[in-house]
């Protein structure tokens, strides 16, 4: 058996390496362009803002790796936050209220997954439906009015301090490590990727694809609810319109991070780096006092170029590696 010289590892982590380079280039540029950028207060700000995106994008990485999509995460974050707020208003403890909010997120996720898997309906349209449904519920149960004023033990989750860091950052870091372990090393992660790669192969191996698909969306619902916790706690307000467009931001980060929209390939590290990159970009544009309209434009351009680059590279790159692998295999 001849071993190929071309190990596939560099090929696999190449998009992430490129992201890191872009990230470094941005950091260097911004450090030179503004004396405020490389200060701890500012960086802390970047991490703080990115942590929300990271938490949501982690769940989204699983969904997209499995070949699906979840458009309901922003609305689910709002609905969960509202549920936590109502539970606390109703006199329940902070811990129980948070658990209720997470359960609501998980429930909507499981509902997403059930309809998608059991009835075999396109995830785009199903989660679009649940997006509207969750947003509608959040508006109905609050009467459209934000709920505010929570116990300190709750707002700590958004604005507390743990040394120089804060709970959302640590939550994001903890979730990222957990997600990386689960996606790359657990059976659940293996099946998530297999679902995206070839669902039929997994089914024929005797694995319950319904169970795993529902679990993937359930997980995404729970991470959306965790995002809802962070938003609600940070603002000390449960806002039924919170998390607007958050689904698109997290999908963008996941795709920018190198996870394949076709499914079968997912990178937690890539998602993490992409969230930081987008966070630094937003921060940098503010520091350089570039009008916020340009933020949208620039973020759009970055995402498009990243996706086009990845696609072109995979078409060319895969074809050439393919030939090499074949010719060396005797």
């Amino acid at each position: 058996m001849k071993r190929t010289k071309i190990k596939l590892l560099p090929g696999n982590i190449f998009p992430q390496l490129l992201l890191i380079l872009v990230l470094l280039a941005m950091v260097i540029f911004l450090s030179v362009a503004s004396p405020f950028f490389l200060t701890w207060d500012n960086l802390r700000n970047v991490f703080d803002h990115s942590s929300l995106y990271i938490i949501l994008a982690l769940g989204m990485t699983f969904v997209i790796s499995s070949g699906g999509i979840d458009l309901s995460v922003g609305a689910v974050a709002a609905l969960s936050g509202v549920c936590m707020a109502l539970a606390m208003q109703g006199g329940l403890g902070v811990g129980i209220s948070i658990l209720i909010g997470l359960a609501v997120g998980g429930l909507v996720g499981a509902a997403n997954g059930s309809v998608i898997s059991l009835l075999r309906i396109n995830p785009f349209i199903v989660t679009l439906g649940f997006m509207s449904l969750a947003r509608g519920l959040a508006l109905i149960i609050t009467g459209g009015i934000p709920i505010y004023g929570f116990p300190r033990a709750f707002t700590w989750w958004g604005s507390g301090h743990i040394g120089p860091l804060n709970p959302p950052m640590l939550l994001a870091a903890f979730m990222a490590v957990l997600a990386a372990l689960v996606l790359n090393m657990s059976r659940f992660g293996y099946y998530t990727l297999a679902l995206g790669g070839n669902e039929e192969a997994l089914r024929r191996s005797g694995v319950s694809i319904h169970l795993y698909k529902i679990m993937v969306y359930l997980l995404c619902g729970v991470t959306a609810a965790l995002g809802g916790l962070v938003v609600t706690a940070r603002l000390n307000t449960a806002e039924p319109l919170a998390g607007w467009m958050l689904e698109l931001d997290s999908i963008a980060a996941v795709v920018l991070g190198g996870t394949s929209m076709k499914g079968g390939r997912g990178s937690i590290a890539g998602t993490l780096i992409a969230c930081l990159l987008l966070g630094i970009l937003r921060n940098g544009l503010v520091i350089l006092s570039i009008p916020s309209y340009y933020q949208q434009l620039l973020i759009g351009m970055i995402i498009l170029s990243a996706v086009i680059f990845a696609e072109v590279r995979s078409r060319k790159g895969l074809a050439s590696t393919h030939k090499k692998e074949r010719s060396t295999a005797v």
Partner: protein, 264 residues
């Protein structure tokens, strides 16, 4: 049913009796009796639409027969399900191979059967090691078990699919057109692999259109025509012309198909 195989003493791995299946008014299988033995490569040949695929789908539990029964290990079943078939040691290497292209060979071989350590982590090292051992035993050579299978050639992919069947504790392995769309040397390697499975004691069922391939590996050749098993040969007792005769129906024999050939 004519049977010059002379296998009366041996117990078949699977025994099919009077299997009937129709789709609407189309009769796909019209009372098939078939015995498949361990340690033997049996080829099922027949024209397009003769009912070969329907038969292997019934054996692998994908389709339920309308009538008839299957016996295995002394038990009789009206029908199987895919997971029941796997449990009973029946595995099928599908035409499309059902591999997860973006995952590596070891992950494909162990798909659905990943060993765990610490009750959570997939034991990748063990998977790689055992996959290497298994592929070596099957004389399938691939660049590395950590190569995604999309980078492998048709024959190598077939090898990975076979290794997975064996990992699923398969005792009977069914191949659906294993050499379709394959080059000459590639086909030769796959045929050798199939032959060696028979020699290792597996019950092997092969569906193929290529009689040259069939004659090079099969111990028995069964001809299916219009949903019926019309002939069951020992390979050494027949020749390709005779088999073609039975496939097309031009070679008539006592009994079963009088009407068609008179009008034809």
């Amino acid at each position: 049913m004519s049977n010059d195989a002379g296998q009366e003493k041996r117990i078949p791995y699977i025994r099919l009796r009077n299997i009937k299946k129709s789709f609407g008014h189309v009769i796909a299988l019209d009372g098939v009796d078939l015995d498949i033995y361990s340690g033997e490569v049996m080829a099922l040949v027949g024209d397009n639409g003769a009912g070969k695929s329907t038969l292997i789908k019934i054996i692998s539990g994908v389709l339920n027969p309308d009538e008839g029964e299957l016996s295995l290990n002394g038990k009789t079943f009206k029908h199987l399900t895919p997971s029941k078939a796997i449990e009973l040691g029946i595995s099928t290497v599908y035409q499309d191979l059902a591999l997860v292209d973006c995952r590596d060979a070891a992950s494909n071989i162990f798909l659905g059967r990943e060993p765990l350590k610490a009750a959570f982590f997939v034991d990748k090292k063990r998977m790689n090691r055992e996959s290497e051992e298994l592929l070596r035993r099957l004389k399938v050579s691939i660049p590395s078990v950590t190569t995604p299978v999309e980078f492998l050639s048709g024959g190598q992919r077939q090898g990975v699919a076979v290794a997975r069947s064996i990992k699923l504790q398969g005792r009977m392995i069914t191949f659906d057109e294993p050499t379709a769309a394959m080059g000459v040397s590639e086909s030769a390697r796959v045929l050798k692999l199939i032959r060696s499975l028979g020699d290792e004691g597996f019950a092997v069922l092969v569906i193929s259109h290529n009689l040259h391939h069939v004659f090079s590996i099969a111990d028995r050749i069964c001809v299916i025509r219009n949903g019926r098993l019309v002939k069951d040969f020992r390979t050494e007792n027949t020749n390709p012309d005779q088999v073609v005769g039975f496939i097309t129906g031009s070679n008539r024999y006592s009994g079963e198909y009088k009407e068609e050939n008179i009008t034809a």
